[in-house]
Amino acid sequence: MDTSLVMYIAAGGLLLIGSAGIVMSSHLVRIIFGIALLEAGANLLLLLASFREGATAPIIVDGHVPAIMADPVPQALVLTAIVIGVGILALALSLAIRVQRAYGTLDMREIRDRMAQEIADTASIDRPISSHAPLPVDVTSVPSPSEGKG
């Protein structure tokens, strides 16, 4: 009971630290680390569901079937989840490389601003100071048609 309590706290802690990394940091690599920690925490939480008091691994050794076996299903699930996590981390890192090469920075705030600027440029509209500022929708600058809108 005590060991599993510590593990649960560890899983919850990892989830919190990972979330803190993503939410509060503005450096891309730190955010990616946060994702890695989050996944570790979630995997740990899932794995804890296979715990049984006094159990051994669910493997038959030398024809001897253990009396109490741990639950194999969460172990298989976590195996899958870890591999998925690895794939996503590799992807994230490759994107970070390209972003750094394109913008010369890994600061998320700057990246967001530059990206918004680029989108606005491609659409060739004047970008407001902040993407949250109200846009003055200027319909009067375009001549209105002779008949009213149906």
Binding site: L5, Y8, L15, L16, M24, P72, V73, S94
Partner: protein, 228 residues
């Protein structure tokens, strides 16, 4: 403002987790699928390692999809990183210790990796774990001598064929009118190397695919030239 909302969000998350922990019993629920599987896995699949029978038998489709995720990730990394400019500077070779160590480790890692793959249905381990060790076996020499790199052509070939053979084995069952990925009858002696029907074959396919994929992925990442 952003810091404040972030801190508030994290506080809420912490409270939520604490509330859930308080309500959850700290023991796993008694009756569950794992228990049911433990009771019948040996008869139904003939593999001594019940986790393997879950991974390749009961949840074989999950494993296939997981392989696909790795394949897709490798494809996207190749798409995103593009080709290396031939004029780019290469990193210098590592020192003597790493080079000698890499040369010594290569055969050892190969053997350990293959052993873990082939015995996946008998002992803890299996295709994924063994595949990662195989990938390391091929990647450590690249770390030691950045000038040489693995042959991406071969890697993609092994990857594609291994993945296709996994699906092919699964489709074979459909020819007899059974569902996708049904294991064939006749499983041999429990605990022997040649047992558990197609499970070792599936794990070999998994191991080769994962090994080729990860090696290619890591090589691709390391080949990316540094920003000017």
């Amino acid at each position: 403002m952003r810091r404040f909302t972030s801190a508030l969000f994290l506080l809420g998350l912490g409270v939520l987790i604490a509330a859930i922990y308080q309500k959850m019993g700290f023991h796993a629920s008694g009756s569950n699928v794992g228990q049911a599987i433990n009771a019948v896995a040996a008869d139904q699949l003939g593999a001594a390692n019940f986790v393997t029978s879950v991974v390749l038998g009961y949840r074989g489709l999950d494993t296939l999809m997981e392989l696909t995720i790795l394949f897709t990730a490798a494809t996207v990394v190749a798409l995103v990183l593009g080709r290396r400019k031939p004029s780019a500077k290469r990193d210098p070779d590592a020192g003597f210790v790493l080079q000698a160590g890499a040369d010594l480790f290569f055969p050892l890692l190969l053997i350990v990796g293959l052993y873990i793959i082939l015995h996946g249905h008998l002992t803890p381990g299996g295709g994924f774990q063994g595949g990662v060790i195989l990938a390391a076996a091929f990647f450590v020499p690249v770390l030691a001598r950045p000038g040489t790199s693995i042959d991406h052509g071969w890697a993609r070939l092994v990857e594609g064929l291994a993945g296709a053979s996994f699906i092919f084995i699964g489709l074979l069952a459909m020819l007899e009118g059974k569902s996708f990925l049904t294991p064939p009858p006749g499983q041999g002696e429990l605990g022997a190397l040649f047992s558990a029907g197609t499970l070792p074959l599936l794990y070999i396919a998994v191991g080769l695919k994962v090994g080729a994929e990860l090696a290619g992925l890591l090589a691709h990442l390391s080949e990316t030239e540094a920003a000017e």
